[in-house]
C-alpha cells in the first residue's frame, strides 16, 4: 500500500469522524430543544406574605423555608386561602384567607391521608364532652382545667366571640376574634369552623411539617402519657423504646419512603407499629387500623373486625419476630386482659351498678368517695396494667398496674362498698359472692399451709431469717 493510499484512508476516516461529530451536534441540539428552556429550579414564593411576615413573625417564615412545602412551591396562600362566605374567612391585605388550616384544606393535596384520618378514632377526639373525664375537668376541677388540659389533646370546638346579634367580633384590620377558651388549640379531634374534624398539626407541627417529627415517639407522647394512659412511658420502658433511643441515628427518620425492613431496621417507633408502611401494607393515617382490643373502657372489648386488624399488626411484628414468638405474645396479652376483666373490672362494675340501683350512691358522678375509688381503679391502674402488657412494659404491667389495682380493689373498693351496703342483705350477698369466687378466696380463707411454708423457706434461705 502506497503512502498516498494510506493518506487517502486517513482522510476518508477523518471525514467519517467529522460526519459522526455532526450527528453528535444534531443530538445535542435535539436535547436543548426537547428541554425547551434550560433546567429550571422551582422556588415558588408568596413574596407578598413573606415580605411582611419575615419581619413580623420571622420564625414562622424561617420554619416554612425549612419545609418540603417551601421546596415544592407550596406557600402561605396555598394553605391559608379561603373562599368568601366560609365562616372563618376574612380579608387580609387584599386576600381572603383563614387562620386555621383544617384537614379539609390539607385534603386539597393530601386527600388519602385526610380520608384515613377522618375515619379514625383520632378524628373523634373532641367527642368526649359527655364523658366522665369531661365532667371532671369542666365541673369538678374547673373549666380552665378542661380548656388548657383536656381540650389541648382532645381538641375543642373552635368558636368566635360574637355580639348580641350573633355577629362575629372583628379587630380593626378585619381579623376575626377567636373565643380564647377555644383557641389556640391543636387537639387531634378539633372541631373546625369549616365543620371538619381534626388537626393535622397535632402531629405534623407547623410550619416545618417535618416527617421526622411525626415519626418521633414524643409527638404521640404529648397526649399519650401520664397516670391514665402512659403509653410513651411504657414504650420507653420496653425493648422497643430502648432500641429507638440507642439507635436513633440509624432510623432514617427524614427519609421520604419509610418502609420497615427496607428504609430502616434499627427500632420501631409508635408510628412503625400503628401507622407506617411495611413491605406488605401501606402507611395509614387511621391509628386504630391495627388495634384489636380497646383498653380504654372499664371492661375491655375486642373491636369490630379485630381479627383483620390483628393480622395487620402481626404483619408488622413479623418483620422482626418469628410467628411463634408473635402468637405467644398475643396469647399472653389476651389472657392478661381477660384476667383484668374477670378478676377486677366486671366485679367492680357489678358492685357499682348495684349500689347505684339501690340508691346507696347518687346519680351524680364523683360526689361519693367510692366513685373516685372506682375511677382510679379502671381509669388509672386498670389502664396502666392493660397498656403495660400491650406494649411490653413490665413495670407498668405489674407495680404501676396490677399491684395498685389489687390494692385499690381489696382495701378501698370492697371495704367502702361493704360500708355502703350495710343493712342491705342483697348487696352484702353480692359482695360476699365476689369475695368467695376462686380468684379472690385466698384473702378470706387465707393461703394454704404449703404455700405459706414455701414463702417462709424462701425468705429464710435468702435473708437467713
Amino acid at each position: 500500500m502506497s503512502l498516498r493510499v494510506k493518506q487517502l484512508i486517513v482522510a476518508v476516516l477523518s471525514l467519517f469522524f467529522l460526519a459522526s461529530l455532526l450527528i453528535v451536534a444534531w443530538i445535542e441540539g435535539g436535547k436543548q430543544r426537547a428541554g425547551g428552556k434550560p433546567r429550571i429550579v422551582v422556588t415558588g414564593v408568596n413574596e407578598q406574605c413573606v415580605s411582611c411576615h419575615e419581619d413580623k413573625t420571622p420564625v414562622i417564615v424561617a420554619q416554612w423555608k425549612d419545609s418540603v412545602h417551601a421546596q415544592k412551591a407550596i406557600g402561605c396562600y396555598e394553605c391559608h386561602q379561603a373562599e368568601e362566605g366560609e365562616p372563618d374567612a376574612f380579608r387580609h391585605e387584599g386576600h381572603i384567607i383563614a387562620t386555621i388550616v383544617s384537614p379539609k384544606d390539607c385534603a386539597r393535596c393530601h386527600e388519602k391521608e385526610v380520608a384515613e384520618f377522618t375515619a379514625s378514632h383520632h378524628a373523634r377526639g373532641a367527642q368526649f364532652v359527655g364523658s366522665l373525664d369531661n365532667i371532671l375537668g369542666e365541673i369538678v376541677e374547673g373549666p380552665l382545667a378542661a380548656q388548657n388540659g383536656c381540650w389541648q389533646c382532645h381538641g375543642s370546638p373552635v368558636r368566635f366571640l360574637r355580639d348580641d346579634a350573633g355577629n362575629i367580633l372583628k379587630y380593626e384590620d378585619g381579623r376575626l376574634k377567636f373565643d380564647p377558651a377555644t383557641w389556640p388549640n391543636t387537639g387531634i379531634g378539633r372541631i373546625n369552623p369549616d365543620g371538619s374534624n381534626g388537626s393535622c398539626t397535632a402531629c405534623h407541627s407547623r410550619h416545618v411539617f417535618s416527617k421526622a417529627m411525626a415519626r418521633q415517639p414524643e409527638v404521640c407522647g404529648k397526649c399519650h402519657m401520664g397516670p391514665d394512659h402512659p403509653q410513651i412511658e411504657i414504650y420507653y420502658e420496653s425493648k422497643h423504646g430502648i432500641a429507638f433511643k440507642t439507635r436513633i441515628d440509624e432510623m432514617n427518620l427524614d427519609s421520604d419512603s419509610w418502609v420497615l425492613g427496607k428504609d430502616y431496621t434499627a427500632a420501631p417507633t409508635c408510628a412503625t407499629c400503628h401507622m407506617s408502611a411495611t413491605r406488605n401494607q401501606p402507611v395509614t393515617h387511621d391509628v386504630g387500623a391495627r388495634i384489636s382490643w380497646t383498653l380504654r373502657p372499664v371492661v375491655s372489648k375486642k373491636l369490630e373486625n379485630w381479627e383483620q386488624k390483628r393480622e395487620a399488626m402481626k404483619d408488622v411484628c413479623n418483620h422482626c419476630h418469628s410467628p411463634s414468638f408473635v402468637n405467644a405474645f398475643y396469647d399472653q396479652f389476651d389472657a392478661s386482659i381477660e384476667l383484668y376483666n374477670k378478676k377486677f373490672a366486671i366485679p367492680a362494675q357489678k358492685i357499682m351498678d348495684a349500689l347505684r340501683k339501690k340508691g346507696k350512691i347518687t346519680p351524680t358522678p364523683f360526689d361519693d368517695e367510692i366513685e373516685w375509688t372506682f375511677f382510679l381503679l379502671w381509669h388509672h391502674e386498670g389502664r396502666r396494667a392493660r397498656m403495660g402488657v400491650s406494649m411490653q412494659g413490665p413495670d407498668y404491667t405489674q407495680w404501676h398496674g396490677f399491684f395498685e389495682l389489687a390494692h385499690r380493689f381489696y382495701f378501698e373498693l370492697i371495704p367502702q362498698a361493704k360500708e355502703l351496703a350495710e343493712g342491705d342483705e342483697e348487696l352484702m350477698q353480692l359482695i360476699a359472692d365476689i369475695e368467695n369466687a376462686p380468684e379472690h378466696r385466698w384473702k378470706k380463707g387465707g393461703l394454704d399451709k404449703k404455700t405459706i411454708q414455701q414463702i417462709q423457706k424462701f425468705y429464710q434461705e435468702r435473708y437467713g431469717k
Partner: protein
Amino acid sequence: MSDEPIKEPTTGDEQPSRRGFVTTVLMLASLVASYGLGLVYFLRFLVPPIRWRRRELFVTTVDRVPSDRALVWVGPDGQEALIYNLNGEIVAFSNVCPHLGCHVHYRPSEQRFVCPCHQGVFDLEGNPIAGPPAEENTPLKRYNIVVRGNAVYLEILEEA
C-alpha cells in the same frame, strides 16, 4: 493496513508529486476539520450552561384583576408589571419602555400604553404602534402568568 502481500515497497524518500501534495493537503485538512470540531465541542463543554431559577410571585386573586385598567404590581426586586384582564385572559407586561427605559402609563380613553418620554405607544397586547418602539419594532416585555385555583402568580425567570 492489510494482509495482502506487499507488491511495491515504499520508502521514505518518495519523490513529491503534485498528486501526492494534494492528498497530503486533503488528509491534513480533514484531520484538522474533524479534530478541530471535536475540540470545539470540548470548549463548549467547559462553559457551564445557565441554570434558570423560576419564581412564582403571588399577585392577587383572579376576581381582583381589572379589565378596564391595569393593575400596577411592584415585585420584591422593584420590577413593575401591568396586569389586566385582556378579553378573559390575564396578561402581564413590564412597564419599562424598551426604547430608553422610561415607565409606560395606561391611557384608559385610548386603551393604549403611552411612554411619556418619546411618545412611544403600545396596544393592549404590548405591540408597539407608534414612536421609537414602533420604528424599532420592540414590544413591551411580557411576563408569564400562572393561575392556580383562585390565585394569580407572575413567573419570573432569573439565573440561579
